[in-house]
Assembly symmetry: C2
Homo-oligomer: 142 residues x 2
């Protein structure tokens, strides 16, 4: 199966499949004489695996780890569970952080007349705001 077929079979763009090859995450089973990447069922499954993990919001680093556990028939489920639990905790933290932002903004917006006049508590808050000492800047996988 060449890269385009693998792309259609997995829902991952050919570009990204080449990228995964490049970073060593999923290498093609072989190359044809014409240097075309050849994928078989194993790689296609791995690519699907990656897509699903990505859909669950795992970072590429987490996916790399999960994939190596997936490839290892003997892995203890403990390790997988640990990654999943860490990821859940991370998601929960981000959710809480975003919830706080949304609530703060909702409050400000609620206090803003939203008419033709220039008085606006939202901008007023941004001008003089209390800023509660830097929320962390996390990076986002998805």
């Amino acid at each position: 199966m060449n890269i385009g077929q693998a792309a259609r079979a997995t829902g991952i763009s050919a570009k990204m499949i080449r990228y995964y090859d490049e970073i060593g995450l999923v290498r093609p089973a072989a190359r044809t004489e014409a240097n075309y990447r050849e994928y078989d069922a194993r790689q296609v499954n791995e690519l699907r695996f990656i897509r699903r993990a990505r859909n669950l919001g795992f970072s590429m680093a987490e996916i790399t780890r999960l994939l190596s556990l997936w490839r290892d028939r003997e892995r203890p489920s403990r390790e997988v569970k640990a990654i999943a639990d860490r990821h859940v905790a991370d998601l929960d933290a981000r959710i809480a952080e975003m919830q706080a932002m949304a609530d703060a903004l909702r409050h400000l917006s609620h206090c803003c007349a939203g008419d033709d006049r220039p008085d606006c508590p939202i901008l007023a808050d941004l001008t003089a705001g209390s800023l509660p000492s830097d929320p962390p800047r996390r990076s986002r996988p998805s």
Copy 2:
């Protein structure tokens, strides 16, 4: 006030202040003879404004807009409110999406023994999972 002092006064790195200058978001009030950037109270306030908006999770594009509204004494509060409301809606959507991910993972993790044995519903799900047709890939400002 030079860039280092402005950085300390606003909590934004000198690097980022130079970047904001470069993209035209906040230009220094002047340059000294030695070509040092000179910031005064106005710019420092604007930089603080940016930091607070960033802390609320606004994207740079939104901040650019908010800043121009902030600079315009005559702006109708309606416009500001519209941006804030859109941002709240966006946050809510992301929160729901992440909540769904976290719930799905929590469920899987709950079903995983997490011991020495290799049987793991989490990997099983990633292997065969139903994947409910691509959740959107949003970019994240913060």
